[in-house]
């Protein structure tokens, strides 16, 4: 539910250049961006992100 709501909120913003998220619920939001980035996800999130979000890039760490 929260993933869908995040994606809806993101879609209202127009063209999204870059998006950052760290969990499975962020994947719908990342799909809305031209350059989606996963931040240090776990293995399952990384696998799902790769399968579900085209061109997703993994960012190593938060800080």
């Amino acid at each position: 539910m929260s993933g869908r709501r995040k994606a809806e909120a993101t879609a209202d913003l127009g063209d999204i250049a870059i998006a950052y998220g760290d969990s499975i619920t962020d994947l719908p939001m990342l799909r809305c961006a031209e350059a989606p980035c996963l931040v240090a996800p776990g293995r399952l999130t990384r696998l799902l992100g790769t399968l579900v979000v085209p061109g997703v890039r993994v960012v190593a760490d938060v800080a």
Binding site: S2, R5, K6, E8, A9, T10, D12, L13, G14, D15, I16, A17, I18, A19, Y20, G21, D22, S23, T25, D26, M29, C32, A33, C37, V39, A40, V59, A60, D61, V62, A63
Partner: protein
């Protein structure tokens, strides 16, 4: 420069980011509540006393917002908006170390986008935060040259670098 180039360069750079685990290492709300409690022994004790109640409420899906409000109330009741602003500012300054972001990290990248004039939008889950919770998060927004904010619901808040 062609008109097409002009249109491309005039296009706004919009960067969207999640909050917890992306901008903040851990749960931003929990970090804020704990830091606010540490400012006073009485509030620390009060938070310890209500925490089991909050845990019980957390077990019920509809009780999560109440549990969060209860914990926030205990650490902020009687605090003036000015003092609360300063306290939260201080917490955010220590919790979101943008200036010290490591090269290659998400924070360093996001700081770079802000420096390029990007509009940063923080999208976070949650529904209709209480006024006091909104006040706490509004300080995050005000520190916009540093980072985030909140607008309730599947909330988004934006800021320019």
């Amino acid at each position: 420069m062609t008109p097409v180039d002009g249109a491309a360069s005039a296009r706004e750079l919009v960067v969207v980011t999640d909050l917890d685990g992306t901008l903040v290492e851990g749960d931003g709300f929990d970090l804020s509540v704990q830091a606010l409690a540490r400012r006073s022994p009485a509030r620390r004790l009060a938070l310890a006393l209500v925490t089991p109640v909050a845990w019980a409420l957390m077990a019920v899906r509809l009780g999560r917002a109440t549990a969060a409000s209860l914990r926030l109330w205990v650490v902020t009741v009687g605090v003036s908006p000015t003092v609360l602003d300063a306290a939260v500012n201080d917490i955010v300054r220590r919790t979101v170390p943008v200036s010290a972001a490591r090269p290659g990290s998400a924070l360093a990248e996001i700081r770079g986008h802000l420096a390029d004039g990007a509009r940063l939008v923080v999208v976070r889950r949650g529904r209709g935060p209480s006024p006091r919770r909104r006040a706490v998060f509004s300080v995050w927004r005000r520190r916009s040259s540093q980072l985030p904010g909140d607008r309730g619901g599947a909330a988004s808040a934006s800021t320019r670098g």
